[in-house]
């Protein structure tokens, strides 16, 4: 009974927060319209540029255009989820610096829940549309088999990708507890994510592939899973069906990131603001 009441309480808070954020976002229709254009433009250009490159050179390390868009759209799906629910992770550093996180810790609710619920980016939902369109297009082109096992694998991959992405930003945000400056680090993180998911890892030399596989496992967001779906033997050969590794690594990274965040909070000295 108590558990049920607790869940109901959490739901009511989430709904209330959602209502507030929708109202806030609709307050600036101009901003909403801008968002409406930015992401589709960004996605379609990246795809368009890949197309131009493939038209000139036929393939990229043996990857055809549909195969490239398949991998890229897999990354876009996990990015879409992150943009809707966790976009505020990009500002984790700012929240710490301005004391916002301290306030959350004083409230009788889980900090992670508050953090997720306080800013649901509804406009971000629109960004899922181009991602899904590109994904469905490339599924058709690479003749992807819609079996139950494959669908489950795709879902697991997306969840794993989301976990890898949010852990990555959590770690960057935590580093800022010490450095007291955030923006440049987040920008670097965004660039790294973009560049390691847009093209196959096999274009990079061995040591970069090594880093993106074993040290910063960003290759698991889309490269290794799509290698498996498309039957390619690129990059490092990893046993046991690659798509299984993505959620596993996601969970592991998320655990590490959370421990790191807690450690950071413990050693956090206020900036005085």
């Amino acid at each position: 009974m108590r558990a049920l009441a607790l869940i109901r309480h959490y739901c009511s808070v989430a709904i209330c927060c959602a209502r507030l954020t929708i109202q806030e976002q609709l307050e600036y229709p101009f901003l909403a319209i801008c968002w409406f254009f930015i992401i589709p433009i960004e996605y379609l250009t990246s795809v368009g540029l890949l197309k131009v490159i493939i038209n000139t050179f036929n393939n990229l390390e043996g990857w055809s255009f549909p195969q490239l868009t398949f991998a890229y759209s897999l990354a876009l799906l996990s990015r879409g989820v992150v943009d809707v629910f966790f976009i505020q992770l990009l500002y984790l550093g700012d929240m710490v610096l301005y004391g916002e996180l301290d306030r959350m810790m004083l409230r009788p609710l889980s900090v992670f829940f508050q953090f997720t619920a306080q800013n649901i980016n509804f406009i971000g939902l629109v960004n899922m549309i181009p991602a899904i369109v590109i994904f469905l297009y490339s599924c058709k082109e690479v003749s992807f088999l819609w079996t139950a096992a494959n669908i489950a694998k795709i879902i697991l991959t997306v969840i794993g990708g989301v976990l890898i992405r949010i852990s990555f930003f959590m770690i960057i945000g935590t580093v800022c507890f010490w450095t007291k400056s955030n923006n440049q680090g987040v920008e670097l993180g965004i660039k790294l994510l973009e560049r390691s998911t847009m093209y196959p890892l096999s274009i990079y030399p061995f040591f970069i592939q090594f880093i993106l596989t074993f040290i910063l496992p960003l290759g698991f967001i889309c490269f290794y899973p799509s290698c498996e779906f498309l039957n390619k033997n690129d990059g490092f050969v990893i046993p046991l069906g690659l798509s299984i590794w993505t959620p596993a690594i996601g969970v592991l990274l998320f655990y590490i990131a959370q421990r790191f965040l807690k450690y950071g909070l413990k050693h956090y000295e206020s900036t005085g603001s």
Binding site: F30, C34, I38, V52
Partner: protein, 263 residues
């Protein structure tokens, strides 16, 4: 010291002060240089040339494009947005200086600082790391530098025009990001227009964007003949003048349109 010169100097000093920023942006540039250089390297594969550009030229193009974007520091848009949001614009307008010139001086300081601590070290790093990256002869280097200055003029005036729209919209929001996205695609900074179908090349020739990145880089890598280079420089100058005129007109209007939101 002249007030604008002083503003530039202060900005240079402030760029040099944030050492961690410098370090992170160095790493950031390195990531982008690696990504773009290896993308073109593997795209060319065994092929020597494509669309009349050799792989060596294209890798140089990609690396320098990253450096240019690190060095074209433009903050005027955010500056105006911030000043209006916070109501600081009222005080600023009372100062006995031309506000736009102040912002320009600040950005130029930023450019010089970035050139010293970000772009030049990254360039040396690239020369060491990628054997393909080359330095052309002196004529081309001079033309490249002139072209870069004109490019900066185009980008800055465009950005200032976007910034001034805040006087009417009150909140700039993501308009700047939309503009940056469009510039990034249409400037040829990622993939130059030589690889595009000819009708797109024609359309782009009539737009100002390709004259911001593709023109200076084309001169540097030797894709643009010297004669053509002079013509391109003239087109750049024309675009810069057009945007400056628009900016001047808008600024005259904007000054009478100030809305102070309490601050």
């Amino acid at each position: 010291m002249h007030p604008y010169g002083y503003i530039s100097k202060m900005k240079i000093i402030s760029v040099l002060t944030y050492r961690l920023d410098v370090l992170i942006s160095f790493v950031s540039n390195a990531v982008m240089m690696f990504a773009m250089a290896f993308l073109w390297k593997s795209a060319y594969g065994a092929a020597e040339t494509a669309a009349g550009v050799s792989s060596r030229q294209m890798i140089t193009y990609a690396v320098l494009s990253v450096l240019l974007s690190a060095f074209f520091q433009i903050n005027v848009e955010n500056n105006i947005n911030h000043k209006i949001q916070e109501g600081l614009i009222a005080v600023e307008l009372c100062k006995p200086v031309n506000l736009l010139m102040c912002y320009l001086a600040e950005d130029i300081g930023n450019v010089i600082g970035s050139l010293l601590v970000k772009a030049i070290p990254s360039y040396l790093f690239a020369l060491l790391l990628f054997r393909e990256v080359f330095t052309p002869d002196l004529t081309r280097i001079i033309l490249f530098v002139v072209s870069c200055i004109l490019s900066y003029g185009i980008l800055w005036t465009l950005s200032a025009i976007t910034g001034l729209s805040v006087f009417w919209f009150i909140n700039l929001g993501h308009l700047g990001t939309v503009k940056d996205g469009i510039v990034r695609i249409l400037s040829g900074s990622l993939v130059p227009f030589w690889f595009f179908p000819s009708y797109i090349q024609k359309v782009s020739g009539w737009l100002p964007f390709q004259y911001t990145y593709q023109t200076p880089l084309g001169i540097y890598i030797g894709q643009t003949a010297i004669k053509q280079a002079f013509r391109d420089l003239a087109v750049q100058a024309v675009w810069m003048l057009i945007f400056s005129a628009v900016l001047y007109k808008l600024w005259e209007k904007a000054k009478n349109k100030v809305v102070i939101q309490g601050g």
